[in-house]
């Protein structure tokens, strides 16, 4: 038989078996990650038309989130600032910077900058920013450490199970309203649970788990 099949084929069935097993495991893993709510778009980091750094503005310069996203506590939509907001500072700071060319253009021509949307829930989900930030849920819960991101990426899954997990146990995320925009706040788990439960009780927090909370 060795005339027909070279010697190395002796181990072939084993190799194929191991290969198939590996491939299968990989495929399972891939399906488990990419096709379940764990992934959705985690890690998505598109290139934006203007290289805006949250790290510089929110972390190093300590500008409050609401300076630019000023409607976050008023509307379901957390607005991306208009060019005139940028120009409040950049008409003085870095006023010649080529990086800001698009911003200056937008300001003078009123033509909008087309930012690529990163965080998005499906159209049939009616998420509301204002109710979350007004009732003690910090930006960091859904957006991650966005104040340390040079380029913004999708940090949390924003899947239905992600939402429902928090709605089931809001006490794990509730904080004092003054700390909502303090993205670096670190509280140990036990303390958080204690204060969270108290806040949930005092404010009559009822994070609805009904369909009608998000789907209309």
């Amino acid at each position: 038989m060795s005339d027909i099949f070279p010697k190395w084929t002796n181990s072939l069935p084993l190799k194929v078996g191991i290969g198939a097993a590996l491939l299968g495991t990989f495929a399972l893993g891939a399906v488990g990650y990419y096709f379940t709510p764990k992934y959705t778009r985690v890690g998505y980091k598109p290139t934006q038309p203007v290289a805006f750094s949250h790290d510089i503005h929110a972390n190093q310069l300590q500008i409050d989130c609401r300076y630019c996203h000023n409607n976050v506590d008023k509307s379901w939509f957390s607005n991306v600032p208009a060019a005139n907001t940028c120009m409040n500072c950049h008409s003085i700071v870095l006023k010649e910077s080529p990086k800001l060319e698009l911003v200056r253009q937008s300001y003078t021509t009123s033509k909008p900058i087309e930012w690529v949307q990163i965080h998005k829930v499906p159209d049939y989900v009616y998420f509301n920013h204002s109710v979350h930030v007004s009732r003690g849920i910090s930006c960091v819960e859904c957006h991650g450490q966005i104040n340390h991101m040079d380029e913004v990426y999708h940090a949390k899954p924003l899947s239905m199970s992600f939402c429902v997990d928090c709605h089931r146990n809001p006490e794990l995320a509730l904080r004092d309203p003054k700390d909502v925009y303090n993205l670096d706040l670190k509280v140990d788990a036990e303390k958080q649970l204690k204060s969270g439960l108290k806040l949930a009780h005092d404010w009559k927090v009822n994070a609805s788990q009904n369909c009608s909370a998000c789907h209309r």
Binding site: K74, S75, N79, A83, P112, D123, R216
Partner: protein, 1156 residues
Amino acid sequence: MKTIPPQCPEPEVGPKYWRSLDQVAETPEFREWAEKEFPAGASELTDPVTRRNFVKLMSASFLLAGFGLSGCRRPVEKIVPFGRQPENYIHGKPVYYATAMPTKGGAVPLLVRSHDGRPTKAEGNSGHPDSNGSTDVYAQAALLNLYDPDRSMRSWKREGSGMSAVTAGAVTDALAGISREAAANGGAGLALLLERNTSPSRARLLAELTKKFPSAGVYVYEPVDPYVHVAGATAAFGKPVAPYFTLSSAKAIAAFDADFLGAEENAHVNIRGFAKGRKVDKSSDVMNRLYVVEGAMTVTGTNADHRLRLAPSRIIGALARLGSEVAKLTGSSDIFSSLVSSFPGSNKVGEGTAESWVTTCAADLVANKGMSLVLVGYQQPVVAHVMANAINVALGNVGSTVAYLPALPAEGSIGDLIGKLTAGSVSSLVILGGNPAYNAPVDLDFATAAKKAKNIVRLGYHEDETSALATWHLNQAHFLESWGDARTSDGTLVPVQPLIEPLFNGLTELEVIARIGGFSSVRAYDVVRETFSQQFGGIAQLDADEVWKQFLHDGYLPKSAAKPVVVSLVSGLALAHTAPAAPSKDKLEVVFARDYSLDDGRYNNNGWLQEMPDPVSKIVWENVIAVSATTAKELGLEITKLSSQRIRNGDSLGKALKSNESLVGNDEVTIKVNGREVTGPVWIQPGLADNVVVVALGYGREVTGRVGRKSGFNAYKIRTSSSPYFASGATLTPTGKMLNLATTQEHGSMEGRPIVREATLENWKKKADFATNMDLEAHFPGVVGTYEVKTIGRVENRPKGIYEHPYETYGTNVNSGLGPRADRRQILKSEVHQWGMVIDLNSCVGCSACVVACQSENNVPIVGKDQVLKGREMHWLRIDRYYAGSVEDPQVASQPMMCLHCENAPCESVCPVNATVHDEEGLNVMAYNRCIGTRYCSNNCPYKARRFNFFDYNKRENDYAEVKTTKRGSTSWVTTDAGLYKGIAGVDKNSSAEWEIIKLGKNPNVSVRMRGVMEKCTFCVQRIEEAKINQKVKAGASSNVQVPEGTFTTACAQACPAEAVEFGNLLDPNSRVAKLRASQRNYEVLGFLETRPRVTYLARIRNPNPKMPDAYELAFTMKEYTDAGKGNPLESHHGAHGAAEHGSEAHGAAEKKGAH
């Protein structure tokens, strides 16, 4: 133990409580129809796309989908912020602007919601002193006209045989040319034809224009003209005055051919006043009484306590008789007595008891002196209005129920204009709005006369029949795109302010008049502002801006209502009127009625209105030739004959339905009157006067958009200037063809049970809780036992239902083993909000404003006639209309019906995928994404409130239909064939430019549902959530999370002019809804099913006059209930009636079980 569901009541003895004539006839077709959830054929694809084609196309598309897996990636979406953000703009927060919809005789003050600059919903302005937030169907539907893809999108000039689009500059030049010409010859040859409205700015411009060009002619034409009210009052009192009615203070109302709750101008204000007089908390409260004398069956007629059928031509005689009786009883002034004696009407009312009907009615009016009201409709001649005004004066009603406000003298009529045109003395004819080529009296032949003018300039919203005559067609702006002003019926000034820049650069009427006048201010805003400061300013210039801003903010000018004028009857009025001969079988009387959906035809291309079921006949998408049952029998047009004829022709029911045909076929007939004829389907309308034919105007347009195309027939073709509202001497002849009529009437019939509960005021005095003393609830023992329920302020024993209750356990004796589960349920119930709704059937008049409001708020699609024929209409809220009594003189009751949000919801327990579940605040919610379209829920819904998307109605082409004639047996059938959704083979509107306009009108807070999904009323969950979120944002770090009463309401409750719908939080003891739920009249529909609906109804109270010849002791529906042997709701009784035989056994069993 197997639970035995409660037995449904037996069908009544004798089919008396019926919803349609087919039900009276009890035809086998009707039985089959009624027993099915969706009619046969509704679930079948009867589409030209064959299965083979479909599979082919599908596999092709799957193959394409495979390449590149483009479907697996989310599309990249952009966020586009402003370059410079406008101040106070918050993306995602709707803004409300006060404006008003101008109407012929007033205006509807509105608050319009704008999402990011696009109007999405019109609501009534509750601040306005006269309308208080009431609206009508037209105001609710006007939004759709703004986003009508068939509206005129350009101005053009006729050049040779074609039209060439022109720029705004060219239009301005053309108008300036007319102005120069007029300035040169003093306006000779210039004629303006306008619609009626109440704009002070327009009146001012026209006055200035005629001053500048004295020879210019100003004419006004309305096909359905409310001006006769002014003409009548002016003739009676000798000065130009308009009557203004305050129905809320009237205790006895007599309407003579006056459809003041329906087709009359300002019906929304009238309904509000009328409903106020019907709101009763306890039986000792005073309630108004409504007498109606009419020929057609109108909305007002359906609400009458006493109704007399009379041909419209006879009504003037009845009014004369009423006048003489009032004169006799009041012994009033000589002027009135002499008017009565010289009145040209016959003093004989009609046959039978009609005479004593009128005299007893007169006695009641006199008994309520100062608090009574006599109304005459727009159809009646001026002499009738003179008489009504005189009677109101004699009854001392002036100052209480009727006031006279100053009015402007009449402009020229269309007859005068035609005269001038024919004489060749008009060179430039300017037609602003309207559509005279379609709706002018046919004998005047407007089109021929108009062609004598050298230059016809036409400002139009659509390119229609009149545009076809024009040399210049100017594109008109929608009122939501325009500046303007108007005065509501009480004279209060309201602004018309734009919410959006004109989408297609439309012009307003004011701009065109200002340019023709050559005035210095030509912008509509400037014109309105000038009028405001000239006529309503009177304040230092510094403050004027503030006053103006406040005016725009409030949407009305406080205290600007007209001051009533003191009036006295003119003596020695010479009145002339010749009543035509009484109608007979061979000389029928044709009545031309304003349509409840399309008005005079102006809303012809509005899908919401086309598909709004007529409040009385429930017909959609067309008009009919309505006759009474007696007349139909005499003419051989009986409906039962039609059914048997079809069976004789060998059409099995299933076969007929599969071929796109409805159950009920109607004879096509030709009406011939005065040598003109028109053809349409016959409809047997209960309650119509005999030998009277009623046709609605506004259909059968020749040049219109795709929605209105081929809907109905054109009744204007037989309408002449001498008899604009009713014509005598007509004949009806069947053509031998059959037509399909789409009506929502038969769908979901609830046969013979006390669904609408009614009693007379006397009955109610006798038995306070009659409403809950009906049906099985009267002594319902609970088949599976009872349990204690703690509701607000009381503990009651409720029977256990056959469905599980989402919040409540059935007590320890049953659920003792369920411990932890019971605890969990308690947690799932919100202690902050429990939503509920109460509908007062005593105030609801059936106007249907709620139906359109719901459609507008919730993105409910229209489906077209062809789909309605199959029972696939999508309205979340319908109004059921029930007849009771005889076919000739029925009593009518309307009942709004939608998802009742049952606590023990039968739909929830059958959904295999949990797509419909309960939320913690009492809503029965639908998760569209979970729905797989089994339709089990719909089958199990006892109220038939669920709607299924058989097709992608939102994506479908909205073409109305093609009409085709088919031969079937010996009969020709005229059928309509609508452009069905054709899947991937059809046009996807999403990709068309048209969609860009249509989608602007959608409410962004409500999902647009797709094919295969069940949907239903959500209690406007988007509004609930918005209110809750706003409250939580306000609460911040506090526990103040309960939404206060009055913060928001549902779309239907907001729109309701009668305030019949109350929505609110049942846990708030001060909420109106909680109070109403505790009312004696409160009852649950099909309460014996123990579904525990969150929508309950307040029983209707009728207020008959026991002295009347047609007095009744029991409301007809209650009489039928007792006649059927179901017991007497007015007596306390314990399980002694037929249907309860079975129940009493169960009662005993339950008691035994309870004792264990």
